[in-house]
């Protein structure tokens, strides 16, 4: 035997194909809405039509008479505690006497056909006493505004940051007010799943989610069952983007399944999906920057208000991010920030990609442009001048202890090739209005805009943020095979590919099986905060190292040799001599389970906001080029180019895919994506009226990836998924301002904001 020098494909740094790719292109991949079971019944949800009302009575008589109906449940049928929630248990699984937003679940119906269930739900008579609704978050904290929750005022979280001189002055002062509309995650796979009763009082739930274990805890509380009796398995997930952090149909399907004794399938239609998950917080932001005449920031003040809607969801953490990160990736010695989240009777808001940083970035980047213009400085160079570098302090006093290449990122996007200047006859598909044939180039002006951001990676402010990995190495059919088992949700981002790559790299085996994601292994933490490659990646790496150590220990004992190592699928001695094959040593499987944590974070001081709140920062910059039909207010984004530091690209193709997809969502918020809410009522719950970018809307995107390894992170990785969603939108807004000369202090930018 000789040592093999052949390097197998599919290790870290390669871009192997997704293990689920073939199933997804053949239609065989089982998404949560594809599940099916013999004898299953369908569950539907009756929701409140009112944003605020008391429920005086619910009459099920007519509904129960509908043939085919097997159960109708209301709050009084909840066996456990009727309370769920990510940070506060303030959300009833089913409304109990009061509804606090339009769309709040009131009753559940199970029937043999979804249409039967819908018709029966329509016959449930709910006697509502409509109450005044709190719909303006700007007056939610006024003393005469009613409380949305009888036992709590309307303040969800109030965060303040005070740093440096409390009364700073500067020769140049700029300020603005900004408003950001309510964005939807608009994942394509609807909320759905299948709950199967086990006949012994327990239930198995197959569901699309971002965090199986936090779901399990909430479902157990409502069902009044221990975790052993509520087992969750991840069904195929059709995108998430934060919208699957809170529960949707999880508890409801389990309640119906346990009540009927039958498997229950639930699958929301698109209109229901708009009511079935939380949204990105709309925000009102007031900012002031003071600077020297040479451009250096002297101070920054910000007042940020997030509309949390009816229930807390993750509003406290969104306020945390908006406050601690809300001034952007700049060096600012004197800081005064107030960030608040409030209850209203509007739709509940919570997690969405970019999490509190997206709203703030529109304000601080618009103001940075304003500052540059005021002092006659280049908009790129003022960002490079003020941009953080490694070793700087954040506004919470935390040392940025790995790369912070703000200047390099913004100059890199500036130096990328620009699209050609328009000349001659143009393809109307490339003009504002496109195939609607609204212009052939007349009235069209071009603008260029820039933005930078930074985002925390992983959970912050002292959260015990860990992941668990179980790795097993065994011989199957004469070949060594690794099996990696985590509960970390694959939602499309490619975590399962990364898990395979880590196992191949650490164990040298070619075949890596990804075990289905379920609650029979410890928590993987949330698939959010750009954290899974870092945290679950760290756990898989650690589990592989433990497996490798066990294998080599076993080999040493069996062969009587020391200082062995794994090389490919061979056991090699110190001198390079192959002493055994891995398969020969693996007479029995080796399995190790490891719980892995990143460096701890800490709560911030409640008075000053100072503290080491975050574990890692990720930086990106965008340059947008737009053509605007200034007569009709129509915008065509011509180019949306970006540079981002990813620490180390473990799967370069997947990194680029994350960056391009994230950029599209940020562009969507700048241009078109808004849930329109009037008096607590959602006006556009459909893909007809809530628009997301199509392939015609998206421009070509150049992506420049920087790799400054973070010495504190596994393999040097830095979270990737969120920064592009933060810096892309502000760059687009800036480009429209440049093209039109309009201030544009609200997004999404609507045609009337441009033309009037």
């Amino acid at each position: 035997m000789t040592s093999t020098e052949t390097r197998m494909a599919g290790r870290l740094g390669d871009s192997p194909l997704r293990p689920d790719g073939t199933l997804k292109v053949t239609g065989e991949f089982a998404y949560s809405s594809d599940l099916w079971h013999d004898d299953m019944v369908w569950g539907v949800t009756l929701r409140s039509p009112h944003p605020s009302a008391r429920i005086r009575a619910i009459d099920l008589t007519d509904a129960l008479r509908v043939p085919g109906v097997s159960a109708i449940l209301t709050a009084k049928d909840v066996p456990g505690e009727n309370a769920v929630g990510l940070e506060h248990l303030d959300t009833p699984a089913l409304a109990d006497g009061v509804v606090r937003y339009q769309g709040e679940p009131v009753a559940l119906v199970a029937a043999d056909h979804p249409e039967t269930a819908r018709r029966a739900a329509a016959r449930i008579v709910v006697d509502y006493e409509v109450l005044p609704a709190v719909t303006d978050p700007r007056t939610a904290l006024d003393p005469d505004t009613p409380w949305v929750h009888a036992d709590h005022d309307n303040l969800v979280r109030d965060l303040r940051i005070r740093r440096g001189d409390p009364s700073p002055t500067a020769p140049v002062v700029v300020s603005l007010d900004f408003e950001v509309g309510m964005q939807d995650q608009a994942f394509l796979g609807p909320e759905s799943g299948l709950a199967v009763p086990d006949g012994e009082g327990g239930v198995d739930l197959y569901v699309a989610t971002q965090w199986l274990h936090v779901d399990q805890g909430q479902v157990c509380r409502v069902l009044g069952l221990p975790p052993e009796q509520v087992r969750l398995t991840l069904a195929g997930v059709g995108g998430a983007f934060g919208g699957r952090e809170d529960l949707s149909m999880h508890v409801h399907a389990c309640l119906l399944a346990l009540h009927t004794g039958k498997p229950v399938k639930m699958s929301y239609a698109r209109d229901e999906s708009f009511f079935g998950h939380v949204h990105r917080h709309p925000a009102w932001l007031r900012y002031e920057f003071g600077a020297r005449e040479t451009g250096e920031l002297v101070y920054a003040k910000a007042d940020i208000l997030f509309d949390g809607g009816a229930y807390a969801s993750s509003t406290p953490a969104v306020v945390g991010n908006g406050g601690t990160l809300g001034l952007g990736p700049y060096r600012i010695p004197n800081v005064h920030v107030d960030a608040r989240g409030v209850y209203t009777n509007n739709p509940t808001c919570g997690a969405m990609r970019g999490f509190g940083c997206v709203q703030a970035a529109f304000a601080h980047e618009a103001l940075m442009d304003e500052l540059a213009d005021r002092i006659g400085m280049d908009r790129v160079e003022i960002r490079a001048l003020n941009g953080m570098v490694e070793g700087d302090l954040t506004i919470t006093g935390q040392v940025v202890d790995s790369a912070a290449p703000v200047a390099e990122l913004i100059r890199t996007v500036r130096d990328l090739p620009l699209p050609a200047e328009p000349a001659g006859e143009r393809d109307i598909r490339e003009l504002p209005g496109g195939a609607s044939n609204t212009t052939h180039g007349e009235g069209v002006r071009r603008g260029i805009g820039y933005a930078v951001t930074y985002k925390n990676v992983g959970f912050s402010e002292g959260f015990d943020d860990y992941s668990t990995a179980r790795v097993r190495l065994e011989v199957v059919g004469g070949e060594p095979v690794a099996t990696v088992h985590t509960a970390a949700a694959e939602v499309g981002q490619g975590l399962i590919t990364i898990e395979q790559q880590i196992c191949r790299t650490e164990l040298g085996v070619e075949q890596v099986v990804v075990h289905p994601k379920d609650t029979t292994v410890g928590s993987g933490g949330s698939t959010s905060a750009s954290r899974q490659t870092y945290v679950t990646g760290g756990a898989v790496k650690a589990a592989c190292e433990a497996v490798r150590a066990s294998v080599l220990r076993r080999a040493s004992e069996a062969l009587g040799r020391a200082e062995l190592r794994l090389d490919g699928e061979k056991i090699v001695a110190a001198g390079g001599e192959v002493v055994a094959s891995l398969a020969e040593v693996l007479t029995d499987p080796v399995e190790e389970t490891v719980e892995w944590r990143h460096r701890p974070t800490y709560p911030i001081d409640p008075e000053t906001g100072q503290g080491n709140a975050h574990v890692q920062y990720a930086f990106s910059a965008h340059r947008a080029v737009v053509d605007v039909d200034v007569e009709l207010g129509l915008v065509k984004v011509v180019a949306l180019d970006t540079a981002q530091d990813v620490g180390r690209a473990l799967n370069p193709d997947a990194v680029v895919g994350q960056i391009q997809g994230g950029s599209a969502q940020g562009m969507g918020l700048a241009l078109m994506e808004e849930i329109v809410v009037q008096d607590g009522i959602v006006k556009n719950p459909s893909f007809t009226d809530y628009l997301i970018p199509t392939i015609l809307d998206m421009p070509p995107m150049q992506v420049k990836v920087l790799e400054y390894a973070d010495p504190h992170a596994p393999y040097g990785v830095r979270g990737v998924g969120e920064p592009p969603t933060i810096s892309s939108g502000p760059a687009v807004a800036a480009a429209i301002r440049a093209a039109t000369g309009k201030p544009l202090r609200r997004v999404p930018v609507r045609p009337e904001h441009i033309t009037f």
């Binding site: 292109v25 809405s33 394509l188 599209a664």
Partner: protein, 152 residues
Amino acid sequence: MRIELTVNGVAREADDVWEGESLLYALRERLGLPGSKNACEQGECGSCTVYLDGAPVCACLVAAGQAQGREVTTVEGLAGDGLDPVQQAFVEKGAVQCGFCTPGFLMSTKDLLDRDPAPSDPEIREALAGNLCRCTGYEKILDAVRTAAANR
């Protein structure tokens, strides 16, 4: 009611179909073919695109009864002995993330390339504008379509 139709070349039938059911529901829930997707069920996202007598349609907007006696091709019918070049290109070019839009994109892309074997980028964008993707930003989908066109 009973419907009889040909799906992916095979004669199929379903009983007790409610008149209000869409072709999409019949395919997914009655015929065991959930590959066509249910992202919006209102004709906006293209995830349910199938061929009805060879023409691409949103299966969510076709009543199941309208498919009586007709030929339907779904994403499950695209592959032969191996993957169709369009499927292969989507896998290889990273055009698949969550994959929920993928069946619809595959059907629309194959239809485009059957009509126009070498489309320009604006032609690709126009042909696929009825298919929504939330994950990719469409760049890698464009790569995949260009690759599929080259490899067919």
